[in-house]
């Protein structure tokens, strides 16, 4: 089994008639219930087997493959990721209800979210948020052109995409990397919120999934302990991952990281404009080709 197979089973999330698509997931979220059809699908898929090594009868072959499968779930609904993904424990005891992760009760003993794995899984919801921002930019017209023709929108989307690439490439065990990833993730969501404008706030229509994912990721992040560690920029990127990035992508990632850490930017204003342009074009191509924004660039339904 594979992420491709799971994606095929989930089908097109943007199809309103899909019982495991965003419309159905949002409806369940409104009722503060876990989505039953999607949960059943994960049971049919036998997600548990993905964590058992192949030599012991399971399907685990490597971390990259497992990440791709779990991101497929997190792209749709982080609640499913927590309830069924072995990334955390579901506690149905006397828990507290949060404004995100609705339908899950968070026990006083915080879920055992995996610190090393979690930032990487959150690339999933960020992928969907970015896709929502791009879809809206190409579908909507303002001031006599599409929103995607506005340079501010292009640059803002480019920067959210650079943040996604940076989180994807972070070395999870580097000191301070985890908290840095969360801050970048929230900032990327803020960028997309700016591009969506009022549509970021609607709980119905094609952009509604954005506000749900924004609530979910904020809740997930809040469950991790807050640690003060100043990251060392040289240790932040996984070398094998950074090597896979094209030059403009790598420059954009480095620029985002240095600015966030308060260091002098690596790009001049003119270079930055150029890099923003190239990253927007790449993100737009991935969106039009129905490919993931992460380093796999895997083709997905929709």
């Amino acid at each position: 089994m594979s992420a491709d197979k799971l994606d095929e089973m989930f089908g097109d999330p943007w199809d309103d008639g899909n019982p495991v698509g965003y419309a159905a997931l949002l409806e369940a979220d409104e009722r503060a219930e876990l989505p039953t059809d999607a949960a059943r699908l994960l049971e049919d898929y036998d997600l548990g087997a993905e964590f058992v090594p192949a030599e012991r009868g399971g399907r685990f072959v490597g971390v990259d493959e497992l990440t791709a499968i779990l991101r497929t779930i997190w792209r749709r609904d982080p609640r499913l990721g927590i309830a069924y993904g072995h990334a955390g424990s579901r506690d149905t005891g006397t828990g507290r209800r949060l404004s995100g992760l609705r339908g899950l009760e968070i026990g006083d003993a915080e879920p055992a979210l995996d610190a090393v794995f979690l930032p990487s899984l959150l690339v999933g919801p960020l992928d969907t948020a970015l896709r929502t921002g791009l879809a809206n930019s190409f579908d909507r017209r303002l001031y006599g052109a599409t929103v995607a023709d506005i340079p501010f929108v292009r640059a803002t989307i480019a920067r959210a995409y650079a943040d996604l690439l940076a989180i994807d490439a972070l070395a999870p065990e580097a000191p301070g990397a985890e908290r840095l990833a969360y801050r970048m993730l929230l900032e990327a969501f803020s960028c997309i919120r700016e591009v969506l404008g009022a549509r970021a706030l609607l709980r119905s229509g094609p952009t509604a999934i954005f506000q749900k994912l924004a609530r979910d990721v904020a809740a997930v992040i809040s469950l991790r302990p807050r640690k003060h560690v100043d990251p060392e920029i040289r240790e932040l990127l996984r070398p094998e991952h950074a090597a896979k990035l094209a030059e403009p992508e790598l420059l954009a990632v480095r620029d985002r990281l240095t600015r966030r850490l308060g260091e002098a930017p690596v790009l001049t204003p003119a270079e930055r404009e150029d890099v923003d342009q190239q990253l927007f074009d790449t993100a737009a191509a991935r969106y039009h080709d129905r490919r993931l924004f992460d380093s796999t660039a895997r083709r997905i339904p929709g």
């Binding site: 404004s99 303002l142 006599g144 501010f152 809740a219 809040s222 308060g262």
Partner: protein, 571 residues
């Protein structure tokens, strides 16, 4: 408080009830706090809350004194709104929307039109403003709702959506196209009375379900051949866009009250005694957030007073204030949420789940009445003059003094002075060199050094702004310069207020040795450096000392519900 007009805020605050009592375990009284939590969950319009605000007479502030209203001082109105907003942002927006709905009337109406609306407002009737359209948003010039001349009057066709007070309002100001071409003069403003619309010629569109401000009456109207009399026209035909933009100058300035309220609410929830404050670094986060809030407060108060003192500059001031106050409050809320952990998002957490509600509600503030990118674009359009004047430092001394004279009754607002482009730039920021050299600032060498640093950054900024070529679609770099301009404005506002008042309040902890103004300037310096493409300055021992002192003062103030900002009030 040595301030005559502090009284209305205190009266209003008392009318809204005691928080500790209302949210204590086992509390059963139906209070404003309970209304907020329950109403948000049920998405129910805050009727009881609004009635409480009407009973205080808040609606009287939405009509000018010449028409029998109480709106003679926008500083007072700002203070009243923030007093409500620090308890329930949504209830404030729901009630305050009549101010936006009627703003076009006070700008452009004939006496009999104004008298009709004033009577409605003073009786407590909600008034809405129908500018937005489903496919156009802030793009007013391309709006497609039409008003066609017909039988001596007009007929309206098309959809206005979303409208705050869209269902409950008795009157609506409506922007509609009266000419085919899409130009600045192709639209006109109308005042319509819902009860007078012929039945069947209009349709109510359902409530919009939103992420924040869930309790609002946010809906829309579809007109299909709705006949309105010629007397519905506000101002001359073709002046609708101009009236709308001038109205927005007033409302955008006043919107900042929502951000002040939300950020103060968040700060109080976090700074009240509790184990979260024992975490390492917690005091520093609280202090930095309090400093950012103080900067937002200064920018906002100076902005509200500029409505009277620097009316002709509001095209700049309103765009700055509408962007910078939500941006600073967003930063405060984000940092405090990180400190609170899961408590921040708990539906049953401190104050009946108040933090997650205020965070969702505040997400909307940077969007409504013109989003941050829209406001920054309008600032960028004025860059050439702003850059020149920032470099030369010329400014309106009298107007600036009035804008900084907190608590003093201002001159009457002359709406005829509203202008779509400020001819004198922005006196608040252009007066930075002078205030940095003023005696009250120079008296403290540390503050003088910070003021000189801010002035140097502002000059660097003016050089960068002058290189931006005017364009219909400006580059991203120009938006970042606009953001830097806003932060410089906030810093300058802090210095003006300190210079005007510092010595008179020296006995108060926040004012001792310039504590708040020094902390605010430090808190602004990091984000400003980042926007100017420079490394963030490492915190000096002086900065750490200032934040340490501020943290002690804020935690003590929060513990006994005292003021947590330099111009704030006890809760």
């Amino acid at each position: 408080m040595n301030r005559v007009s502090a009284a209305p805020e205190a009266v209003l605050d008392a009318a809204l009830g005691d928080r500790a009592q209302a949210t204590a375990a086992g509390a059963t009284t139906m209070t404003t706090w309970r209304w907020s939590a329950d109403g948000d969950r049920a998405e129910a319009y805050p009727s009881e809350y609004s009635a409480r605000l009407d009973a205080f007479g808040l609606h009287r502030y939405y009509a000018p004194p010449e028409w029998g209203g109480a709106s003679d001082d926008h500083e007072v109105m700002l203070r009243l709104w923030r007093t409500v907003a620090r308890r329930d942002l949504a209830a404030t927006v729901a009630h305050g929307k009549t101010y936006l709905g009627t703003a076009p009337v006070w700008i452009a109406a004939q006496p009999e039109q104004a008298a009709t609306v004033a009577a409605a407002v003073l009786s407590g009737a909600p008034v809405g403003c129908a500018l937005s359209e489903p496919e156009h948003g802030a793009d007013l010039v391309n709006g497609s709702v039409t008003a066609t001349a017909h039988d001596g009057g007009f007929r309206l066709d098309g959809v206005k959506w979303p409208i705050n007070n869209g269902t409950r309002s008795t009157h609506l100001t409506v922007l509609a196209r009266t000419a085919d071409a899409s130009t600045a003069r192709s639209h006109s403003m109308f005042l319509i009375e819902r009860a007078a619309l012929p039945p069947g010629s209009w349709r109510q569109l359902p409530k919009v379900h939103t992420h924040g401000l869930r309790t609002l009456d946010l809906s829309g109207i579809e007109f299909s051949g709705a006949r309105i009399p010629a007397s519905a026209l506000l101002g001359a035909e073709g002046t609708g866009i101009e009236i709308a933009l001038k109205s927005l100058q007033l409302t955008r300035t006043m919107c900042a009250a929502m951000s002040l309220g939300a950020a103060e609410h968040a700060l109080r929830l976090v700074a009240e005694p509790g184990p979260r404050l024992d975490e390492p670094g917690a005091g520093h986060v609280v202090a930095r957030c309090a400093a950012l809030l103080a900067a937002a407060e200064a920018a906002t108060l100076v902005g509200a007073r500029s409505v009277h003192g620097l009316t002709g500059e509001l095209s700049v001031t309103s765009a700055v204030v509408k962007s910078v106050a939500p941006a600073l409050a967003d930063r405060v809320i984000r940092e405090l949420a990180e400190l609170l952990g899961p408590q921040a998002w708990s539906m049953d957490g401190p104050g009946l789940g108040a933090f997650q509600k205020l965070a969702r509600d505040h997400d909307v503030v940077s969007v409504f009445d013109g989003s941050t990118p829209v406001n920054r674009a309008s600032l960028i359009g004025q860059f050439p003059r702003l850059a020149r004047r920032l470099a030369s430092g010329e400014h309106d001394d009298d107007g600036l003094a009035e804008a900084a004279a907190i608590g003093a009754p201002p001159r009457r607002l002359d709406r005829a002075l509203l202008s779509l482009a400020s001819r004198t730039g922005c006196s608040v920021l252009q007066g930075l060199a002078d205030v940095a050299a003023s005696d009250p600032v120079r008296a403290d060498p540390g503050l003088a050094r910070q003021a000189a640093g801010l002035h140097a950054a502002a000059l660097q900024l003016s050089a960068l702004m002058s290189q931006v070529r005017p364009a219909p679609r400006p580059p991203m770099a120009a938006y970042e310069l606009a953001a830097a301009y806003e932060l410089c404005f906030a810093g300058a506002a802090c210095l003006h207020l300190w210079s005007a008042r510092g010595s008179s309040r020296v006995g108060e902890p926040l004012w001792q040795d310039g504590l708040w103004v020094r902390a605010a300037l430090y808190a602004l310096s990091g984000p400003l450096a980042e926007l100017l493409g420079e490394p963030r300055p490492a915190p000096s021992p002086d900065e750490r000392r200032i934040f340490g002192r501020l943290s002690t003062v804020i935690l003590a103030a929060a513990a006994d519900s005292g003021p947590v900002t330099p111009f704030g009030t006890a809760l």
